[in-house]
């Protein structure tokens, strides 16, 4: 739970993601990103499209992409936005992944 943000005070996205429940599959990442391909990516749209900031360009070197599947809400956006072939997208195994209480 976090308070509704007010004018002039953007919310830290990870705080918002923290409101949602997950059952993280520690043994098997359901999305695998070949970050070597990301080094040559001309747009890096994944980090703009991902609703939960699973993709984050390195602050020192913008061409280095960091990926973490743990906050993934399985929307599929990165798979669409990545036209470089870096994203191998599958569903999490049964019952793993995001677990909405409201939906």
């Amino acid at each position: 739970m976090s308070a509704v943000p007010v004018k002039g005070q953007p919310v830290e996205i990870m705080e918002r993601v923290g409101e949602t429940e997950f059952n993280i599959d520690q043994n098997r990442p359901h999305i695998v990103v070949d970050t070597n391909i990301c080094r040559r990516c001309p747009h890096q749209m994944c980090q703009y499209g991902c609703p939960t900031q699973c993709y984050k360009a390195d602050e020192a070197d913008r061409q280095v992409m960091h990926f973490n599947y743990e906050g993934c809400v399985e929307c599929g956006t990165c798979d669409v936005l990545c036209d470089q072939g870096a994203v191998a997208w599958t569903m999490p195994r049964g019952s793993f992944g995001v677990k909405y209480r409201f939906g």
Partner: protein, 525 residues
């Protein structure tokens, strides 16, 4: 060895799948629902309004049991700019009692209830082999020699049911491997980003918890009543097409945005910021301030409509709901759950007839599914509104026109201390001054035609569906050609870049003692 299973298999426990299951059970047919979420509903997200009363076919007076939030008595449409909001409201207090127009719902609750109704009905009617299996992911299909689906893969094993209903949501991983999608489309799916972006809108929402009384006061409601408010988000950077919604639940508010991904393909805008700016907008703040965000959820909305609809039937296979692009988004209506329910019910009825006709689940036997959909509102609506993207895809609607309305009303309302202008003058002069008059007229004419022509074609008895299908096929062929061309262009550019990079690398290797050697070395490490 594949294991033979009894009855029909439904892949995906959402509105479509569970409605189909209810229909099948009511006809006494064994059914297995496979849902990857545990419990049912925990993967399902919708904006939040269930319009219509289609569930009555399987659960008479369903509203007496369904855990809905509020019946919708008000529909509001708002245009927002940076500081202003222009709202039209239609309120009908009759809608608070049966027959209701619609309900705000939270899917985790409603879908769980629907699943319990399937089990309940199976027990009451003593239908054997009815299962709702939670936490099970269908990994793929198995095919016969002709490429038609015969079984599913689950946990590395093959299970063979009599027939399948594919309704695993907007982000279906299974649809694209079935014969319901053409080879050309499958190729585009792999290589073209625009292909999926043309079919899906990006949605995100937050659930905001507030006191029940506070919600009623803020939304101007009698106890128990509810509001559905859709908005045009004119405050985002020019060119981005996004809509918002705000629905009143019992003690929460569903607040979310829908974004055309193609329009946000620019390297300075995080999609999620659309939601953040929306929640902090001065028009929204009075409704949500002081509340607690309790959940953040995202979901695609399949806005491709009939233009991107897959084939609906094949041997042993039907497709429905979001997976089949059955969602109506006109700007004034956004409805998906009722289309999913109806398609599920019709799929159930189709399977039931095929079951009774000697378990004949060939494509020919299942083809009546499409006919049933044409005879219902599902395909009729999607056919009538098939060109609605010419209105909702117009970037002026999301930037210039909200500003135009803002300045018209500012002129009419704002006291200048001077004698007033007539309304005609205020409106006419503002439009002329904005320089948008020619576009406005052209867009108006286009909007009228894009509704009128498809609707009049779709309504022609018997021929309507055939003509519409032909026109849709032609349009899709055109769109596929453009997408294919773009994909090849992108591939070419990528190949060029790879060659250039190789050349650069070779050069760097050939001249290691270059004065800028330090930089080049950095690139290698």
């Amino acid at each position: 060895m594949p294991e033979k299973m009894p009855g029909v298999c439904i892949i995906g426990g959402g509105m479509c799948g569970l409605s189909a299951a209810l229909k099948l059970v009511s006809e006494g047919i064994p059914v297995t629902v496979l849902e990857r979420g545990s419990p049912v509903g925990s993967k399902n997200v919708s904006g939040g309004i269930l319009w219509g009363r289609d569930l009555e076919e399987v659960i008479p007076r369903f509203w007496e049991e369904m855990p809905f939030e509020r019946p919708i008595t008000s529909k509001r449409i708002s245009l927002l700019t940076d500081k202003s909001g222009f709202t039209v409201e239609f309120k009908n207090t009759d809608w608070r009692k049966p027959p209701f127009a619609g309900f705000s719902v939270l899917r985790a609750r409603v879908d769980k209830w629907l699943a319990s109704k399937v089990t309940e009905l199976a027990q009451a009617r003593a239908v054997p082999d009815v299962n709702i299996i939670e936490g099970v992911l269908v990994e793929g299909f198995t095919y016969d020699a002709h490429g038609h689906v015969v079984g599913i893969l689950q946990g590395g094993e093959e299970l063979q049911f009599e027939a399948y209903l594919l309704c695993d949501g907007a982000n279906s991983r299974l649809l694209d491997e079935t014969p319901l999608v053409s080879k050309e489309q499958r190729a585009l799916k792999k290589g073209s980003r625009k292909y999926k972006m043309a079919q899906q809108e990006w949605g995100a929402k937050v659930i905001i918890q507030l006191d029940e009384k506070a919600i009623e006061e803020r939304f101007n409601l009698m106890p128990g009543d509810g509001v559905a408010n859709e908005m045009v988000l004119g405050f985002l950077p020019k060119g981005i097409r996004a809509g918002g919604f705000m629905y009143s639940n019992k003690d929460t508010i569903s607040l979310g945005v829908m974004l055309a991904m193609e329009s946000a393909w620019r390297r300075d805008f995080y999609f999620r910021d659309a939601l953040d700016q929306y929640i902090r907008h001065p028009y929204i703040q009075p409704f949500v301030r002081g509340g607690e965000e309790v959940e953040y959820a995202t979901h695609w909305a399949p806005i491709g409509g009939i233009n991107w609809m897959p084939e609906l039937f094949d041997d042993r296979l039907l497709v429905g709901g979001d997976t089949a692009q059955m969602l109506l988004s006109t700007g004034l209506n956004i409805e998906g759950m009722n289309y999913a329910i109806k398609s599920g019910l019709l799929a159930g009825a189709t399977f039931a007839d095929a079951w009774r006709a000697g378990k004949n689940f060939s494509a020919a036997a299942l083809s009546s599914y499409e006919r049933r959909l044409w005879n219902s509102f599902v395909l009729q609506d999607l056919a009538q509104f098939r060109n609605i993207d010419q209105i909702t895809g117009n970037p002026r609607l999301f930037y210039d026109y909200p500003r135009l309305i803002e300045s018209v009303f500012s002129k009419i309302v704002w006291p200048t201390g001077q004698p007033k202008k007539t309304f005609g003058e205020s409106i006419g002069l503002t439009i002329l001054g904005s320089g948008l008059a020619p576009q406005l007229m052209a867009d108006g004419a286009k909007a009228a035609l894009s509704e009128l022509v498809p609707a009049s074609i779709a309504r022609i008895p018997i021929l309507g569906p055939m003509l519409t299908k032909e026109l849709v096929t032609r349009r899709r062929r055109r769109m596929l050609r453009v997408l294919y061309h773009d994909m090849k262009k992108d591939e070419g550019e990528r190949a060029m870049r790879a060659v250039e990079e190789k050349a650069d690398e070779a050069q760097a290797r050939a001249a290691p003692a270059h004065p800028h050697g330090a930089d080049a070395g950095g690139g290698h490490a």
